[in-house]
C-alpha cells in the first residue's frame, strides 16, 4: 500500500516534490498512529495510578464516573471527565506574568516527551525512525524537558513557582548525568546506539539459546545500572519520592502553581508521558524490549508489542508503588544521592564492565 501511495505521489507531483510530499504525509500518519494510543494510555495511567494507590492505602479510588450509566464500569470514565473539565476551565494569567513564555512553557514541557517516541521500537520492525543514534536522540530530547519547568517558574512571576523551577533545574541536570552514564554501560555491551539493535542484542547468549530469554537480558549482568537508571528516572520525571519540585506541602505545586485549565493539563500530560517513556526505555535497555521472557511456541505467538506493553505496565506500576510507599526525600539528600552515590557508582561500573568485556569470560561478543 505504501508503494502504491509513493507511486501516486510521484506521478502526480513529479520526481522532486512527489517523494517529499509522500514523506511528509506518511510521517504525519505514523505520528498520529503512535500518538493516539499513547494519549489513551496516558489518560488511563492517571486512573490506574489513583486506583492502585487507593488499593495500597486501603481505599477504593475513583468509582463513580461511568459510561452510559453502567454501574460495573464505575470509575472507567474518570479520565474522560477529568479531560473535559480541564479543557473547559479558564486559563488564568497571573498579574505581570510574561504571557508569551507563560504559554510557551507547557508546550516546551510536552514537546520532548512526545518527540522522543519517534525512535522507540514497539516490535521488531515497528519503529517510526530507525536511526543509528537513537539512544543519543532520546537522551538529547529528555534533557530538554527541564526548559518547560524553568520557563514556567520564571514566567509565572511567583515565588513558589520560581523556587520549584530552581529545584528542578538542579535536580534534573544532576540526575541526567547518572542516567546518561548508566546508558553508556548499556551501549558499551550492545556496541550500538540503535534501540532495535540494543533489544536484539539482548536476545542472544547462553541462556537465550536454551530458551530462557529473560536470563540473557541486560538486567542480570547490569543490575546495578538498572537500579541507578530506574531511580534516576524517577528523579528525572520529578515523581515521588523525589517530587520536591512540586512539593505541595511546602511550595504548593512548584512550577505549576499558577497554571490552570489546559495549560496545567499539558504539564500533567508531559509528566505522565515522561513516566511512560522512562518505563519503556527501562524495558528496552534492560528487559529485552518486545521479546518474550521464555522462548516457547505459546509465548512466541503473543504479538511482540503486547510483551512490550505488559513489561511497561509492570515498570510503570513500580513507579506508582514507589510513590505510595516512600516519604519525600529531603532536598540535600537528593543532591547527595545523585552526585555522591550514583555518579561515582556508574563511573566505576563503566570501568568494571569495560574490563570484563576484555576478558575471555565476556558475555558480549
Amino acid at each position: 500500500m505504501l508503494e502504491a501511495l509513493y507511486a501516486l505521489s510521484e506521478s502526480r507531483l513529479g520526481p522532486v516534490w512527489g517523494p517529499a510530499v509522500y514523506e511528509v504525509v506518511t510521517s504525519l500518519a505514523f505520528i498520529v498512529a503512535i500518538l493516539v494510543p499513547l494519549m489513551g494510555l496516558m489518560a488511563y495511567l492517571t486512573l490506574w495510578e489513583r486506583k492502585l494507590i487507593g488499593w495500597i492505602q486501603i481505599r477504593i479510588g475513583p468509582n463513580r464516573v461511568t459510561f452510559f450509566g453502567i454501574p460495573w464500569l464505575g470509575g472507567l470514565a474518570q479520565p474522560v471527565a477529568d479531560g473535559i473539565k480541564l479543557l473547559f476551565k479558564e486559563v488564568i494569567f497571573p498579574a505581570n506574568a510574561n504571557k508569551a513564555l507563560f504559554v510557551l512553557a507547557p508546550m516546551l514541557a510536552l514537546m520532548p516527551a512526545i518527540a522522543a517516541w519517534a525512535v522507540i521500537p514497539f516490535a521488531p520492525d515497528l519503529v517510526l525512525s530507525d536511526i543509528n543514534a537513537g539512544l543519543l536522540y532520546v537522551m538529547a530530547l529528555t534533557s530538554m524537558a527541564v526548559y518547560g519547568v524553568i520557563i514556567a517558574g520564571w514566567a509565572s512571576n511567583s515565588k513558589y513557582a520560581f523556587l520549584g523551577a530552581m529545584r528542578s533545574a538542579a535536580q534534573m541536570v544532576s540526575y541526567e548525568l547518572a542516567m546518561g552514564f548508566a546508558l553508556v554501560v548499556v551501549l558499551m555491551v550492545s556496541a550500538s546506539l540503535n534501540l532495535s539493535d540494543i533489544v536484539n542484542g539482548q536476545g542472544q547468549g547462553w541462556f537465550a539459546s536454551m530458551g530462557l530469554n529473560f536470563l540473557s537480558w541486560n538486567w542480570l549482568p547490569l543490575a546495578p545500572m538498572l537500579l541507578v537508571y530506574f531511580i534516576s528516572g524517577i528523579a528525572e520525571t520529578n515523581r515521588a519520592p523525589f517530587d520536591v519540585v512540586e512539593g505541595e506541602s511546602e511550595i504548593v505545586a512548584g512550577h505549576m502553581v499558577e497554571y490552570s485549565g489546559m495549560t496545567f493539563a499539558l504539564f500533567f500530560l508531559a509528566e505522565y508521558l515522561n513516566m511512560l517513556l522512562i518505563a519503556t526505555l527501562t524495558v528496552i535497555m534492560f528487559f529485552g524490549g518486545w521479546q518474550a521472557p521464555i522462548s516457547s511456541p505459546l509465548l512466541d505467538a503473543v504479538p511482540p508489542t503486547l510483551w512490550l506493553l505488559a513489561k511497561v505496565f509492570v515498570v510503570v506500576s513500580m513507579f506508582l508503588w514507589i510513590r505510595a510507599t516512600f516519604p519525600r526525600y529531603r532536598y540535600d539528600q537528593i543532591m547527595r544521592l545523585g552526585w555522591k552515590v550514583f555518579i561515582p557508582l556508574t563511573l566505576v561500573w563503566i570501568v568494571v564492565i569495560g574490563a570484563w568485556m576484555q576478558t575471555p569470560w565476556s558475555l558480549w561478543k
Binding site: L101, N132, A133, L136, A140, L141, S143, L193, D332
Partner: protein, 200 residues
C-alpha cells in the same frame, strides 16, 4: 535545482539567522538566552542535513540540555538594569565593531581555503554507515593523543572552577548524612521504667 532538502536548509538557515539576531537585540536577557537555545537547536538541525548526526545530537545534549539550562538559570537570577546597560553604548561601539570584524576575518580565513569544497554536498553513504562509530574510531586511534590532552585540560578546568568557588562558611551548619544514617534508636531514645505514681 530546488529540492526538498534545499527548502528545508533555507528554512532552518532563516530561523537560525533570525534567532541569532534576536539574541543580541532582545531587550530581556531571558528572551535573549531562549533565542540562543533556539539558535543552537536550529544549528543542530542544519548539521543533521549535513549527515553529521553525532555532532548534531551532541550539540543539543550538551549545549541545549546542560549549558544553556545553567545559563538561563543564572540570567533569571540577575537583576538586570537596562538603563545602566545602555550607558556607554557609543563609547564601546568602536571596540565591539573591531572585535567583530576581526572574528569575521578569522572565520573567513579558515573557510576561504575550503570554500569550493563546501558547495559540494557530502557524498551519499551506505545505510549502515554510523557517523558515531566512525568518530569514535578516529578519536580513539588517530587522534587519541589530542583527545586525551583535551580531556586533561578540561579536568584541570573543572578542578580549578570548583577550587575557586569552594569555601566553607564558618557560621553555616550542615548535616552529615552518613552520621544520620548510622543513627540507631538507642542513640536517640532512652526508655525509662518508672514506678506508677499512685497518689496522683
Amino acid at each position: 535545482m530546488v529540492n526538498f532538502e534545499t527548502v528545508v536548509f533555507y528554512l532552518f538557515a532563516a530561523i537560525l539567522l533570525g534567532s541569532a539576531l534576536r539574541v543580541i537585540t532582545a531587550r530581556n536577557p531571558v528572551h535573549a538566552a531562549l533565542y540562543l537555545v533556539l539558535a543552537f537547536f536550529t544549528a543542530s538541525a542544519i548539521w543533521l542535513l549535513l549527515r553529521a548526526e553525532f555532532l548534531a545530537v551532541t550539540l543539543v545534549l550538551v549545549y541545549v540540555g546542560a549549558v544553556m539550562v545553567l545559563f538561563l538559570f543564572v540570567v533569571m537570577m540577575l537583576d538586570v538594569n537596562l538603563e545602566r546597560l545602555r550607558q556607554g553604548f557609543w563609547q564601546y561601539l568602536p571596540l565591539g565593531l573591531a572585535v567583530g570584524a576581526l572574528m569575521a576575518a578569522e572565520m573567513a580565513a579558515v573557510l576561504y581555503t575550503r570554500w569550493s569544497g563546501l558547495a559540494a554536498r557530502p557524498r551519499a553513504l551506505a545505510p549502515d554507515y554510523s557517523n558515531t562509530k566512525e568518530l569514535g574510531r578516529l578519536i580513539y586511534t588517530d587522534y587519541a593523543y589530542a583527545f586525551e590532552l583535551a580531556a586533561v585540560i578540561l579536568l584541570v578546568a573543572i578542578v580549578a572552577a570548583i577550587a575557586l568557588t569552594l569555601r566553607r562558611r564558618k557560621d553555616s551548619r550542615s548535616q552529615d548524612p552518613s552520621q544520620q544514617v548510622k543513627a540507631r534508636r538507642a542513640d536517640r531514645v532512652r526508655l525509662v521504667s518508672m514506678p506508677a505514681d499512685k497518689d496522683g
